[in-house]
């Protein structure tokens, strides 16, 4: 990938206005040391000889041939948006449709904490660019219900909440148009379809509903329509007069259409052997395909799986401990951007628990061998590296809820853990997980590594498939028909199983 694309993913963005075809000349960058690709013709046209001698290049034309150092003197203003690294995704194999008038389309995965989106030319079947950014609604509360509560308390603010999230989405789209195409208005005119998946609360908000449906017990196991009531003013506010804005309905009270997208992304019903899927987060969703039906449920993950909810928790940001390993006499902390550790993100915390459990500092019950109000400091000189008792507790409850749910679905389908051909871990949380460590504490079941598949951004991929597949409606209908929503509160043995899984030990067959 070009230096520009790499920087877009990293978040230190060069200025850009043409989509990386060297016509705008805005993405100048200075090479400091290392081996680089040669100057291109466009660079000769855009950069003076004097500047070329100083090592000034166009980042969109520049490729690295070794580790290198570059200097961005004039970066783009800080932005909520970064590019997603989708370079490993295989291309979809769909026929090219005939869409001359409005070839552009947008896929949106609207999450509780993040928004992910990609911009497509459906005519050419090419992804022009992708983005992810924070969902500005995070400010209103860390979990979905808090936000719904806020919303219920101030129903007069509903409209503005809806505006906040819609505004965030269009900002992401405009960021792509400005940087990756170089035109905005004329392109917005030609957007024919926006497909939005998300969790139930976000779907309710973005479509301008108050979310009160989620509180109704009769909706917990049923599909929830999320039809926007003000489509034309929505189109207007986005300046997309020709766009069909499609909000994919939630599957049930706590199962959003993001999970439907996950399942479509991994083609789960195409498998001939049993497959399980888990998407960890504030709510953790679990699916089991047994060849005939798709059992689906949701359990509270709480903030433990988001990092931010721990006492010493962070998002995956600079200073976050993303991994822990054992050195000779101490713990080795892998800190993002190699800074002084400021706390744990989820993957680092999972590692810490596994290592402390293995060396006996944390007992089976989750208690410390030597309890201390300060917790256990991985780096004795840095209190922000402390694993706190309360955080272990939150983790235990989250992982027990997940494991017990997996076990319940397996029992309902009369399938043993070792009969699973694959376990898919979708969502951001799984991507950076040390799977062996995750198995030590029973966060994920003990099974061969080759059976475990990681798929970050799966919901966006499923959303893209809905956007591009010619028989997309048929596919979603098929999935909706095969899905059986399991309400775990109907099963008394779930409680028992939850309590058993609180122990910090591997999750093995027939525990």
């Amino acid at each position: 990938m070009s230096v520009r694309i790499a920087l877009d993913i990293a978040g230190l963005r060069v200025r850009a206005a043409c989509g990386g075809i060297a016509t705008c000349g805005a993405c100048t960058i200075q090479t400091v040391k290392g081996e680089f690709s040669s100057f291109t013709l466009s660079e000769y046209q855009k950069i003076s000889a004097e500047d070329r001698d100083l090592g000034i290049r166009l980042a969109c034309q520049l490729y690295l041939h070794s580790n290198a150092e570059v200097f961005v003197e004039n970066p783009a203003p800080e932005s909520n948006w970064k590019s997603l690294d989708l370079s490993t995704w295989p291309a979809y194999q769909y026929p090219k449709p005939d869409l001359n008038k409005c070839p552009y389309a947008v896929a949106v995965d609207l999450g509780t904490t993040h928004i992910r989106l990609s911009f497509w030319d459906r005519q050419q079947q090419t992804r022009i660019a992708s983005r992810h950014g924070n969902n500005p609604q995070v400010a209103l509360g860390e979990d979905v219900l808090t936000r719904l509560d806020v919303q219920q308390k101030r129903s007069e603010d509903l409209q503005s909440l809806t505006e906040i999230v819609r505004h965030a989405i269009i900002e992401g789209i405009r960021d792509i148009l400005a940087r990756d195409i170089g035109e905005i208005k004329s392109i917005l005119d030609k957007v024919g379809l926006v497909n939005i998946v998300g969790n139930t609360a976000m779907l309710a908000l973005v479509s301008g509903q108050d979310g009160s449906q989620l509180y109704q017990p009769e909706n917990w196991e049923n599909h929830i329509p999320c039809l926007p009531t003000d489509l034309s003013s929505w189109q207007q506010s986005w300046r997309m007069p020709n766009a069909e804005i499609s909000v994919q309905p939630a599957l049930a009270g706590f199962l959003g259409s993001d999970i439907l997208a996950d399942l479509i992304a991994i083609d789960i019903v195409q498998h001939s052997e049993p497959v399980m899927m888990a998407d960890f987060g504030t709510n953790t969703e679990i699916a089991l395909w047994d060849g005939k039906q798709l059992l689906l449920t949701s359990v509270p993950g709480g903030p433990a799986f988001e990092g931010v909810g721990l006492q010493n928790g962070l998002c995956a940001e600079e200073g976050a401990i993303r991994g822990v390993s054992l050195g000779d006499n101490s713990f080795v902390l892998d800190v993002i951007a190699e800074q002084t550790a400021k706390g744990f993100c989820a993957s680092g915390f999972v590692d810490a628990i596994a290592l402390l459990r293995t060396n006996g500092e944390i007992k089976l019950s989750g208690r410390f061998l030597h309890p201390s109000p300060d917790g256990y400091l991985l780096d004795k000189s840095n209190p922000l590296t402390a694993v706190k008792a309360g955080d272990i507790d939150a983790f235990q409850r989250a992982k027990a809820a997940t494991a017990a749910a997996m076990q319940q679905l397996l029992e309902l389908a009369s399938i043993n853990l070792d009969e699973l051909s694959e376990l898919w871990i979708c969502g951001a949380f799984g991507q950076h997980l040390n799977l062996q460590n995750a198995q030590v504490s029973g966060l994920i079941p003990t099974m061969e590594r080759s059976k475990i598949k990681l798929f970050g951004n799966a919901a966006l991929s499923g959303c893209e498939k809905m956007l591009l597949a010619p028989d997309s409606e048929k596919i979603t209908e098929k999935y909706r028909g095969l899905i059986r929503v399991v309400n775990l509160s109907n099963y008394t043995e779930y409680d028992e199983s939850f309590i058993n899984h609180l122990r910090l030990q591997p999750f093995v067959r027939d525990e």
């Binding site: 017990p217 008792a389 507790d393 235990q396 409680d495 309590i499 609180l502």
Partner: protein, 221 residues
Amino acid sequence: MFDAYIKDYNEAVFEIDKDAALEVVETAIQQGVTPEQVIFNIIIPSIEEMMAEIVENADTNLAQHFLTAQIASEITEKMLAKFTVPPEVIGRVIIGTAYGDLHSLGKRIVIGCLKSMMIDVIDLGVNIKAEDFVDAAVAQDAQVIAISSMMVHTATGEDGSLRVRSILKERDLENQIKLVVGGAPYRFDPELYSKVGADSWAADGVTASKKIKQLILEVKA
């Protein structure tokens, strides 16, 4: 004479080692302790000690709470089966979660504690309508209805405790059936219970059992 047993038993339960806890109890019985004494002189004091530690500890460990209540409840059941005379039941409680609320685990802890205190519990489960609470209490001759809510809207909503109170009033049952509530929202606002029409509330399982016992005795007096 029970202190040593309590200490060993507590250690086992704290380490959530059910087998070791059972072994302590079995040893006690072999050494002449009666099943009644096991419950009243070992298990109940031990639960109280544990709850005290859990409550006092700033890093409240809910996982520990669930695990210990589960073990205590199982052992109590085992001991009850060994009682020479059927245990004298103090009274009866109808318990369930509020309509619209599926969170069953808090209720579970309370059930374990109530059983250990010789209070009969009928668990209606989760998502229970107000009418069903009252109908069950009347049919089963219970003195107390206990409603668990883990979400603010199920604690304060029209279909929960408030509705039970108004039915009790309508049917003139307020003197013979008391209403108690519990769950996270009540911990945040200790006055909330009275705003939703309840007679009492408690922050943990042991306190809940004690308050319920007191209410049962008041009704029966």
